[in-house]
């Protein structure tokens, strides 16, 4: 079965529907599936729930889907970089479910591994624990968190072979593997599709079993906080 598609629009054809749950990889603007986000903007699909650590910035990443009002709800750990997000949230147009960052990552990993719930000590005694089952193990309290089972995962890797075996680069890996795992369907975009057999099987970060469709394209890879040090004189 062929996994390689020619464009984001081709790869997204037939998998989008209003009200769906999408898990997206990326941390800040690092390692985000920018081509697929553009494709979803163009599709016009709406009432989306998006599980993603952050919500992009106003004119890049998931911020584009907020600008077009295609997102109804975000599941995130930190959303401080996006003014339009804040405007929609404070006016009640956008629903927001805060998740501690590690809980969000584990909810994705668990969903992808067929685990519907798990107990964690993260958030015990805080607002995050409200309404959640508390269970004591060996004298310590833990709260029940649910696995995320997304309708669609959109992720970005550095390279993949034609079967979807993927390699990430530096900290652009972040949420991409757990996000990829938790979708019924996962579409991956990469900077380069390489011939099958050219990647060392021992260095694959995400095996192609998780990848249903694959596209290649040019990435802007915008830097959010460019920080440098002076060269020694």
């Amino acid at each position: 079965m062929k996994k390689v598609y020619g464009s984001a629009a081709d790869a997204l054809d037939g998998v989008l529907f209003d009200g769906m749950l999408i898990a997206a990889g990326g941390f800040g603007l690092c390692g985000i599936p920018e081509l697929l986000i553009d494709g979803i903007v163009a599709s016009g699909v709406k009432d989306l729930t998006v599980a993603s650590n952050n919500a992009g910035v106003d004119d890049f990443g998931l911020g584009k889907l907020l600008a077009t009002r295609q997102i109804r709800k975000m599941m995130s750990s930190y959303v401080g970089e996006n003014a339009e997000f804040m405007r929609q949230y404070l006016s009640g147009e956008l629903e927001l479910e805060f998740n501690p960052q590690g809980t969000l990552a584990e909810r994705m990993r668990a969903g992808g591994a067929g685990i519907p719930g798990f107990y964690t000590k993260t958030g015990v005694g805080t607002v995050i624990a409200e309404g959640k089952e508390v269970k004591t193990f060996d004298g310590q309290d833990y709260i029940l968190e649910r696995g995320i089972f997304a309708d669609l995962s959109i992720v970005k890797a550095w390279k993949a072979d034609e079967t979807g075996n993927a390699v990430f680069r530096k900290t652009a890996r972040n949420f991409n593997p757990p996000a990829a795992m938790c979708g019924k369907i996962c579409i991956m975009e990469v900077e380069e599709i390489v011939p099958t057999g050219s990647l060392d099987p021992d260095t694959i970060h995400l095996p192609g079993i998780y990848v249903y469709r694959l596209i290649q394209g040019e990435h802007e890879k915008r830097i959010e906080q460019r920080t440098v040090r002076p060269r020694a004189a």
Binding site: F27, C30, S77, E81, E106, V127, P178, T227
Partner: protein, 207 residues
């Protein structure tokens, strides 16, 4: 009183050779400038990296290499990268020996509030709740009072909590306090600060 750099230098004295440590944003980031020569400390960045290096030289920034504050950084010879679930697995699993974090309020029971002020813009907790719940030791570095002059070292936190009973050591511009049974124990006073000064500026019970 200590300034930001003196507080960071004092926090660095908590480091031990071979430690894996997570530094928060703000004053905690400065702690990396005071790691003693010859001591090997590995810094974790919770977005998926162990062995965080300094900021890059201009022109050498890499969009694929950032820290948890989204700043461009560099790698070191012993750097390793991993995904976010693995990163928080090592945090929640207690493999990170220590986190040094900023705070809005700390209580005498070691409760910590550092993510949300009701009525103000809420940006989210990021990885703070996972860190304080999971790491071996939590060291807070902050000013002793807020900008209105009110103590941030309290009997009970008033702001929404990041974690309960999680703080081990508090380093402020006035001194160093350890969370012990029944309250806080004064370990050290900053330059020019008397015990009476610190007691007057502290709402929490000192034992």
């Amino acid at each position: 009183m200590w300034d930001r750099n003196q507080m960071a230098a004092r926090a660095a004295k908590e480091l031990r050779d071979g430690m894996y440590v997570n530094l928060g944003i703000g004053i905690p980031t400065l702690v990396s400038n005071y790691i003693p020569d010859g001591m090997s400390v590995t810094l974790q960045s919770e977005n998926g990296m162990l062995g965080m290096g300094p900021f890059p030289y201009e022109g050498e920034e890499d969009a694929d290499l950032i820290n948890a504050g989204k700043q461009t950084i560099t790698e070191l010879p012993h750097t390793a990268y991993f995904d976010s679930a693995t990163s928080f697995g090592m945090i929640r699993g207690g493999k990170i020996a220590m986190a040094i974090l900023g705070a809005m309020e700390v209580s005498e029971k070691g409760d910590l509030a550092n993510w949300m002020i009701p009525g103000k813009l809420v940006k989210g907790m990021g990885g703070a709740m996972d860190l304080v719940a999971g790491v071996g030791r939590v060291v807070v570095v902050m000013d002793h009072a807020n900008k209105h002059g009110e103590s941030k070292v309290l009997k009970n936190c008033t702001l929404p909590l990041t974690g309960t009973g999680v703080v081990d050591l508090i380093i402020t511009n006035m001194g160093v306090l350890e969370v012990v049974e029944g309250g806080l124990k004064l370990l050290e006073l900053a330059d020019g600060v008397t015990e009476a000064d610190l007691r007057a500026a502290t709402e929490a019970t000192l034992v």
